[in-house]
Assembly symmetry: C3
Homo-oligomer: 200 residues x 3
Amino acid sequence: MFYIIEILGTIAFAISGALTAMSKKMDPFGVFIIAFVTSVGGGTLRDVLIGRTPVGWMQNLIYVYLICFGFLLAVVFRKKLDRFRRSLFLFDTIGLGVFTLIGLEKGIETHLHPIICIALGTMTACFGGVVRDILCNEIPVIFRKEIYATICIAGGIVFFLLRETGIPKDWIYIITSGLIIVVRLTVVRYKLFLPPLEKN
Amino acid sequence: MFYIIEILGTIAFAISGALTAMSKKMDPFGVFIIAFVTSVGGGTLRDVLIGRTPVGWMQNLIYVYLICFGFLLAVVFRKKLDRFRRSLFLFDTIGLGVFTLIGLEKGIETHLHPIICIALGTMTACFGGVVRDILCNEIPVIFRKEIYATICIAGGIVFFLLRETGIPKDWIYIITSGLIIVVRLTVVRYKLFLPPLEKN
Amino acid sequence: MFYIIEILGTIAFAISGALTAMSKKMDPFGVFIIAFVTSVGGGTLRDVLIGRTPVGWMQNLIYVYLICFGFLLAVVFRKKLDRFRRSLFLFDTIGLGVFTLIGLEKGIETHLHPIICIALGTMTACFGGVVRDILCNEIPVIFRKEIYATICIAGGIVFFLLRETGIPKDWIYIITSGLIIVVRLTVVRYKLFLPPLEKN
């Protein structure tokens, strides 16, 4: 089940990247690259920082195929995707939950401190969107508008608290990713966000 | 011969970076850094992603010297380089062909799948220009204007097809890089480009 | 003593990042991330390029704590920090000197050529500020305004010249970092800068 959700998340992230790039009038190659980095950017940064090379998507072609699929979907249905905005947002949110967990897992495998693991989880989930925005020449949306990364951090903290209780691993996964997904849906539904820190 | 062309490509990329940076009125240090990353950025990203560290230019100083040379050329002749625009463009195109092959080779050495090797070849040839544009605060030109990376991808595909035929390695190199160079010259000559993917 | 100064430098860099992010009206998470990358960005790039992974801040939590401290300082005193601008600038300059030395050391430990070591020192000291500016969507200040990196390069050259003379290591450290600090203070005091290289 975890695996299926990872697939959905990868595709959703690719579509989200492709849509952003198309709104910037990029050519097909540019759109593909933005879809690619949005989807695997977070995991790639994580792998590079902890030294797991060649990075993940080079060792398992499934990611390349999924991104091609998401890219084609986005291109073919680009005039109709506004209608699917809500489903897309749902997949994107699912991706957020799943990718956070994947990052946490890799950190634990590498025997890093829980704080670093939480940073890796957040990075895995969020960094693809940051690169997308930098390549499109915008201040990353994550730093401005939405309680996005903060939810991943909170999810990571819950994950480690649950681990102390001895609950079975599968349950911890389901609760943590479920929590991230539900909180994000709620936050966006009610337009909650962190106020900017202004100097004056 | 391959080696000489790599030298020309490295210098041409450095000059192209320096010219862009000077048009943004950067100071000499900024111009040097942009020349440097334009020239070795693609190979550096490739080495980091596949885990060949310390990265290439740290292990062989020839690159540093070539970039210094390209930088000095660009600075000294900055008011006259418009006249050499065509030779520069030729070197840049040669660099594109050669760097693609270098990236393909490194991927094969690391026993990666042909698709990943093609990605590495394209990255080696094109990523320096992407970083150059990001550091100069522009949407990378590669995503907007020119069939640049697409040619590298096509060259990579031809490379692997030729490998199946049993043609000697040297010939594969010459044919592939020649093809990339000829196609790019043709494309720019006749102003061919991929149309942007617009949403409306 | 070296260690205490590294602590001050880390905090000063974090505060400098946080202040820039707040002036861009980022939310608290964005401000924290910018503080983080400004502080450890240079060392992270260095570690990734030479293959020391997991990178430094993942193996020693002290950096995370110091950055949190700098972030909190910047947020709490954000309306009063203008008054401390000069002390901040002093810490930032101290950080510049110390981080250059740390980068030089890591390069020597990895048995790299002095030229590459100087590049690593400069990178360690300056790259955090480059990422900060890219994430805030500006042309990095280092490429435009100040003789910042050039001082680090000069410091690196002095470092290797002193090493030839057989002066004790501690003295080399003190002289090199002292030189970087004094030169930068002088340069900023008298508004010295490199003229932009213009094409026309």
